[in-house]
Each structure stands twice: as C-alpha cells, then as structure tokens.
C-alpha cells in the first residue's frame, strides 16, 4: 500500500503527504472527500492520521483494507523508531549525542509552538471569545496545574459542547 511510502516521507507529521498521495497522486478521493474524512478523524480521539488511514482503508476494502492501511502507515516507522530507541538506549549518554538532542528538542518545541499559533489564528480572527477562554483554561489546567488529562476532559468536553451549542443557537449561522 502506498501508505507505507507516505508514512516514511513525512517528517514530524504525515498529513501533508497523505493528502498529496491520496488526492493528488492516486486520485483515490476528491479534495472534499478528503477534508470530510479528515474532519471526522479530527474529532475522534487518538492519532488523527492513524484514524484517517483506517477510515480510508476501510472505505476501499472493508476491515481488511483498514488493517492494511493501518499496518502500512504505522509498521515501517515503528520499526525505525524501535531501532532509534535501541540506539538511544545504548548511546544516549554519549556527550555529542546528548548535545545534539538538546538542540533538536529545543527546536522541536519551537515547531510545536508554531503549530499551536497557526491553529489559534482562525479563533483569533473570528474573535471567538468562548473558544479562547476554553483554550486558556485547558492550557492552565494541564500545562501549569498539571492536572490529569481524563479529569480535565471530563469537565471540559461537556462544558465546551454546551457553550458551543448555546453560542450557535443564539447566532444562527
């Protein structure tokens, strides 16, 4: 399956490549179908791209297709990651490697911050005050207070659903 190739091509996230492969190269899906499937996978919990691969594979080949896409996506990188983990376990204390990893992790945090900023832009542009407050509350609860995730979500998810629902009722869009 082409998912294997895509998974290997994607550094720090596969989504862009998945889109290119599915929509542009193989024309397995139209752009709208892809977006719809992606939206579905986005509100489901768990790794988006893994969900996407399963839903996508299942659409073409039922359960077997889903399994094949899943194996193709997760298998090869998992082997690589395991090898890297083994290397790290053996040489993690070597000074040069330590220094490199310190540098890489600083940059990696920066990339994550950029992703967060990018995702925030639509909320800022829409002046979505409720969204921003929820965002900030979750950030503080998890990032600062270090509360356990399940507890925070059990409160935040229903609350956010309720607020979003009420806001939409008042402003029919």
């Amino acid at each position: 399956m082409a998912f294997a190739k895509m998974s290997l091509a994607g550094f720090g996230g596969v989504l862009v490549w998945a889109r290119r492969g599915i929509v542009d190269q193989h024309r397995w899906m139209t752009a709208e179908e892809f977006n719809e499937t992606f939206a579905l996978c986005h509100f489901l919990p768990g790794p988006n791209i893994v969900n996407l691969s399963v839903v996508f594979g299942a659409r073409f080949g039922g359960i077997l297709g889903g399994l094949a896409a899943f194996a193709g996506l997760v298998g090869p990188p998992m082997v690589i990651a395991t090898i890297l983990a083994a290397i790290y376990a053996r040489y993690g204390e070597v000074d040069a490697l330590r220094r490199i990893l310190t540098g890489v992790s600083c940059a990696a945090v920066g990339l994550l911050i950029a992703v967060v900023l990018r995702m925030m832009m639509p909320l800022v542009r829409k002046r979505d005050a409720a969204g921003m407050i929820i965002l900030a509350a979750v950030f503080i609860a998890i990032g600062w207070l270090r509360l356990p995730l399940p507890a925070v979500l059990l409160v935040a998810v229903p609350l956010s659903l309720l607020i979003t629902y009420l806001v939409r009722q008042r402003v029919p869009s």
């Binding site: 790794p47 791209i49 893994v50 690589i80 979505d128 956010s160």
Partner: protein, 177 residues
C-alpha cells in the same frame, strides 16, 4: 523500578486509556504522557522525556511514535510494540465504526458542532505540551532563543520543519545550547 505488575500490561493499560483521551492527536496527549511516564511511574527522567520527544519529531512517520520510544525504554521491543498498538488500536476501532455510522446517517450537524467544541480544547492541550516540554528542554537563554527562533521560522515561512530540527541539532553539537 519496583513496578508491582507486569510493565507491559501497565503500558497497554496506560496508553490504551490515553488514546481515548487524546483529543486532537498525539501531541495533545504529551502532558498526560509526561505526567504518567515521568511523575507517576518514574519510567524516564525529565531529560530523557525531552530527548524522546526530539527523536520522535526527527524520525519519519506519525507523531504518535513517541509512544513507541517510551514503550521501548520501559520494556524493550515488546514494550514498543505493545505501547504503539495500545495507543492506536482503540481509536482505530472507534474510527472504523463511527465512519460506518456516519456514512449511513448522512451529514448531520453534530460532527461540525463537536469539532467546533473540541478545537479550542486540543489547541490548549498542545500549548500545554509545548510549555511542559519547554520546561524540560530549555535550560538556558540560548535554548529559549533556539525555541523561539524555530517557532518564528515555522510560523512565518514554509520551510520544511526538518531543517529547523537539523539546525537545532547542529547548534547543540557545537555546544552553543
């Protein structure tokens, strides 16, 4: 390491449960991983966790592979396999059934509503991930500058993120960070 039970069982339970709470992808679950891995089970040190995050970003493939790396360091190859499958399995099954359900019922307004409600949550979670990881990897002012620089570049340009990671690695190797 005085884990009472079989570490693999603990891994499967931890990540299987976590996968259902990872709203918005693997990066949202990083604070929870950090809490469980570093604070609760003491499987890894603060530095090791930051290293593992760096490696997972460096290696090709989905971000969820940080789980593979954690699994390996806890219980070897079997641990890596168990942790990865536990993290991906439950939601994959869920995705499979929900997509079947949606195909049948047609487009309703619920998915859009749920998504709108969850987006701010997942952004908040990822922000928290960044904060926690910055806490463990940004030990000096130079390190903070590297982080901010990478963030600015990634936000402002369309450069492949790999080059930012590589630059960080080179600066690190040179002993600047």
């Amino acid at each position: 390491m005085n884990e009472p039970a079989n570490p693999i069982a603990t891994l499967v339970w931890t990540f299987g449960l976590m996968s259902l709470f990872a709203v918005g992808g693997a990066n949202s679950a990083i604070p929870e991983m950090h809490r469980v891995v570093v604070d609760v089970h003491h499987w890894m040190s603060e530095t090791q966790f930051a290293d593992v995050f760096a490696i997972s970003q460096l290696s090709p493939g989905p971000n969820v592979l940080i789980v593979t790396l954690i699994g390996y360091s806890v219980a070897g190859v079997l641990g890596a396999l168990a942790a990865t499958l536990a993290m991906c399995g439950p939601t994959a099954v869920l995705a499979y059934y929900v997509s079947g359900l949606m195909a049948r019922s047609g487009a309703s307004r619920w998915p859009a509503l749920i998504q709108a409600a969850l987006v701010p949550l997942s952004i908040g979670l990822m922000g928290a991930s960044a904060l926690i990881l910055a806490g463990s990897s940004d030990g000096s002012w130079v390190a903070v500058l590297v982080t901010l620089g990478a963030a600015a570049f990634a936000f402002g340009t369309k450069l492949n993120p790999f080059w930012m990671l590589a630059a960080g690695g080179i600066l690190g190797f040179a002993g600047v960070v």
